[in-house]
């Protein structure tokens, strides 16, 4: 189990956190490679169904960031 790494679905707002993620790249920062980003136009788009579907499809966590 020691080499188990969680897979996290990250729903990022196009205007806020997605931009922050881009900038983190531009600034060559480093962070854990566990997130898979799904770009959404706004966190208002976030539907509880997405969260449930992600967990069902094998994600170990869901992160929503505006």
């Amino acid at each position: 189990m020691s080499d188990w790494e969680p897979k996290i679905a990250a729903f990022l707002c196009n205007w806020c956190s997605y931009g922050a993620a881009d900038l983190a790249g531009v600034s060559r920062m480093e962070y854990p490679p566990n997130i898979r980003v799904i770009r959404i136009p706004c966190t208002g788009r976030m539907d509880p169904k997405f969260f449930l579907a992600a967990l069902r499809e094998g994600a170990d966590g869901v992160w929503v960031s505006g």
Binding site: A20, L23, F51, R56, W63, G66
Partner: protein
Amino acid sequence: MGIEPGRLQFSWISSAESTKFVEVVTQVTNAIRALGPNPDFTKKLAEVA
């Protein structure tokens, strides 16, 4: 529903806050890593097949 609340994380980050982004990613990853794999809710292969 049997899902740990910690599996769903929210945050608000401005597009200029790359440092905060990195902090939050790390924190979210650690929080979920601490919860361990998500066994209960994943689609069971057998059921689908």
